[in-house]
């Protein structure tokens, strides 16, 4: 325990703790919509496109966000569009785009001789969170929570039944676009800590666990946020204690919570 408290006195550790906690909560809240709309694969696809962007930014020697943010947002539009238009083809499109992006990222990193960065991109690193990233995370998280609260009623309706929303005269495409932009930004912000391979788990797993417990949509959102926060903090601590990448610790914590919730549900029923 003392060791953990001591680690948290290091700037890199508290930066990772604050930024990661905020991003985890945002990711899990958006994850509720993605899970319920059966768009679970989108986070995975976007993160691998993010990996290619990070590799490219390393080679071009530019700020990672300069390339990653616009390319992941653009990719999210394309993926959501394809998923909506061709339900089955959407999954295939994500699989093709994500594996192509992963291959491109690996190739770019290897050719440029910067493959040492690859591990940090793929599995995340708490050292990657700079002071600037922390400020960006705080601002971005505030934006996500504000937008989600402002559009809560609409997002609930569209997640539940898009057709019915249209019958009320509501333009559902705008809200899907907003969700895809926010998801893309969560992926870009989160993949530095948890890694591009694991960020989709941070988005999806808390919502899946919360869905088992929640009695309504609002409680689902709140429980998902709380479980995600718990999983992030405990996962980060685990990563400090057993010296594993933060992303792995966070995902393992999320999986443990899911198993625990499933067991409790079984016992209860």
């Amino acid at each position: 325990m003392n060791e953990i408290l001591e680690i948290l006195t290091y700037p890199f550790a508290y930066r990772a703790l604050i930024a990661g906690s905020l991003i985890s909560v945002c990711a899990s809240v958006l994850g509720v919509i993605l899970v319920l709309k059966h768009y679970s694969l989108i986070g995975h696809g976007l993160s691998e496109i993010g990996f290619a962007s990070l590799s490219l930014s390393g080679v071009l020697n530019v700020q990672p966000m300069m390339i990653a943010a616009p390319s992941v947002i653009a990719a999210s539009f394309v993926i959501i569009f394809i998923s909506r238009k061709y339900r089955t083809a959407g999954d295939t499109a994500i699989a093709i785009a994500s594996s192509a992006a992963l291959a491109l990222g690996i190739a770019v990193s290897s050719i440029s001789g910067k493959s040492s960065n690859m591990s940090a991109y793929l599995f995340g690193s708490v050292l990657a969170v700079s002071e600037g990233d922390l400020i960006l995370s705080v601002i971005f998280s505030a934006v996500v929570i504000f937008v989600f609260t402002l559009l809560y009623n609409r997002l609930f309706l569209i997640t539940y039944n898009e057709d019915y929303a249209r019958s009320l005269g509501i333009n559902t495409s705008i809200y899907e676009l907003i969700v895809s932009i926010l998801t893309a930004l969560v992926v870009v912000m989160g993949m530095r800590i948890t890694g591009t391979l694991l960020i989709s788990g941070v988005i999806i797993l808390p919502a899946v666990s919360a869905k088992i417990i929640a009695r309504g949509f609002l409680s689902l959102v709140i429980i998902s946020g709380l479980l995600s926060l718990t999983a992030f903090v405990s996962g980060l601590m685990l990563s400090f204690i057993v010296n594993i990448p933060a992303g792995a610790g966070v995902i393992l914590s999320n999986v443990m919570i899911l198993i625990l919730v499933k067991i409790l549900e079984r016992v209860k029923s």
Partner: protein, 210 residues
């Protein structure tokens, strides 16, 4: 009387098939229209066209005032984690209005009470029976204070008491100036509202008026 609905020469195609083939109809305030016809005749497609869920391949649809719609089947996840009250309240949403008002909540409570589901308000929709769920969708349509109500076989799965309650509500709405378009297979439904128009659909066309 104010016209609530004007459908002009509406065509809705699924690929090359014309499920609705040149239907023209109007519904005025306080008017009840029953739509009947065999399975596959295009009744549900017609109501989806009226409700704006399916685009018309040609023709026009004009609606005046707020619309309530009850589909034959809810095209949503039956396992969706939402409470009855949450679903009913969605009926009050309108473009440009992001928050529920106090009167929206009162309307939702009133609609749930009218349909006898107020005790189920906090229940998850996945725990409801088919008949209870249908009453939830009716309450959702009613709480938006519709001026045009489009119902696609709303009585399927309803018990006799709920059926009577629904027709009592419809009579009140008609007296208040709401226009109602309702798809039904049951002749006894038609007897429930005096002075209603009956439109028989066959192969996507109007085959007869009564």
């Amino acid at each position: 009387m104010t016209e609530r609905l004007r459908l002009t020469d509406a065509v809705i195609k699924y690929g090359d098939v014309r499920a609705v083939n040149g239907i023209t109809l109007t519904a005025k305030a306080g008017e009840m229209i029953f739509i009947t016809g065999a399975n596959g005749s295009g009744k549900s497609t017609l109501t989806k066209g009226i409700a704006g869920l399916l685009p018309l391949s040609s023709g026009t649809v004009e609606r005046t005032g707020k619309m309530g719609y009850v589909p034959q089947y809810e095209e949503a996840d039956r396992d969706f984690p939402a409470s009855v009250a949450e679903i009913v309240l969605t009926g009050t949403q309108r473009p440009g209005k992001l928050f529920h008002t106090k009167s929206d909540r009162l309307n939702a409570e009133k609609a749930m009470k009218l349909l006898g589901i107020d005790a189920l308000a906090d229940k998850q929709i996945r725990t409801l029976s088919g008949g209870q769920l249908r009453r939830v969708f009716l309450a959702r349509a009613l709480c938006g204070e519709p001026e045009l109500l489009v119902l696609d076989e709303p009585c399927a799965g309803l018990d006799a008491q709920s059926h009577e309650v629904l027709f009592g509500i419809l009579r009140t709405l008609l007296a208040e100036g709401c226009a109602v378009v309702m798809v039904t297979h049951d002749v006894s439904d038609i007897d429930g509202i005096s002075g209603a128009r009956i439109i028989r659909i066959s192969h996507g066309r109007i085959a007869g008026h009564e």
